[in-house]
Subunit: 201 residues, 2 copies
């Protein structure tokens, strides 16, 4: 606990430092924001923190974040139930929704297979995914896991499990990110962008 | 409000984005921390925010942050009351306390003179400072304002006001920061480090 601060400020800084990428200096800066903020703003912030913990649950169907039983994507009748995009966590849903390209539904695994961290398929929502494929009229599953060792491992495992169910499987394209200069791209990205090259029409 | 998020999450992100240097992406990252945190941790964070607003007040004497009437520095009998270090705000007290060099007391102005922003001497705690000089046995006042136009203006103004009171005035040394290569220093810093050069003993 930082000695220079009065106890309530030090406590707030300690709590803020539990957040990702928030070190002592950022935490102090944020604490000073709270000190300088209006009482209303501080109360709204505290209330918003508590409300999120109270109201947000995993969607019963896809494990995306939901206010209530079912998430907005699963509730939306315009979303195509024949396509399921499988992602590691709810943050990935947000990122993909921002791209405004996918009109199907999601399935949130709740992590990626990582034997080093003791995460196996049983710790993820794989069973619920195979149940969905059996129960719903799913035609295509897009494996949208990270381009990392855990992401690849998980995609491989899901391929093995889902293939026998007769559903079409696809994987996100991996290659040069938008706006990147070729000379700055790493070898793996370049190799993948070559492997995934497409004919010019 | 971000459409991709359930309303409580969007509200939390909006509140978090009011904080300095927190943009939409950082706010989302912090909100996801809250979502993933234990209920206890979220409650502790919310409570710490409210506690700070409730309990922290400006010190009656020096306007530093205080839990109660008087701040820890003013309460400490070991701090030398003959020296007052004048700073713009309570953050500067924290920075100076970290340096563990100053053993006197502080005076927090509550800002710097800045006609552009409509801040004049009357908006600062200058009156309380001159009262302290008259009432306490102050021997030296260290003007520790920023090395900026507002900081200089404020230091000049305070010099004009305090000089007649017969108190010794000093100013922080300005020069090369610790660890900086001379070749990367800007012209003003170099000019000041030359002006402030000290004989080698």
């Amino acid at each position: 606990m930082a000695l220079e601060f009065a106890a309530p400020i030090a406590r707030l800084i300690d709590e803020l430092m539990k957040m990702p990428t928030v070190g002592p200096k950022s935490a102090a800066r944020l604490a000073f924001y709270v000190l300088g903020a209006s009482r209303d703003d501080a109360q709204r912030l505290a209330a918003a923190i508590l409300e999120v913990k109270e109201k947000i649950r995993p969607c019963r169907t896809c494990f995306n974040l939901a206010e209530g039983e079912v998430c907005p994507v699963c509730t939306d009748p315009l979303r195509d139930a024949r396509q399921i995009c499988v992602v590691a966590d709810a943050r990935d849903v947000v990122a993909l929704e921002r791209a405004r390209e996918f009109r199907g539904r999601y399935h949130v695994l709740g992590g990626l297979i990582s034997p080093m961290d003791g995460v196996g398929p049983d710790n993820l929502t794989v069973g619920a995914l195979t149940d969905r494929v059996a129960a719903e009229q799913v035609e295509e599953i897009i494996l949208a896991t990270d381009s990392t060792v855990s992401g690849e491992t998980t995609a491989l495992y899901l391929t093995k499990v889902l293939k026998p169910l007769g559903v079409r499987l696809s994987r996100l394209a991996y290659g040069l990110p938008h706006g990147m200069n070729l000379e700055y791209a790493d070898e793996v990205t370049l190799a993948r962008s070559l492997q995934g090259r497409r004919p010019v029409e």
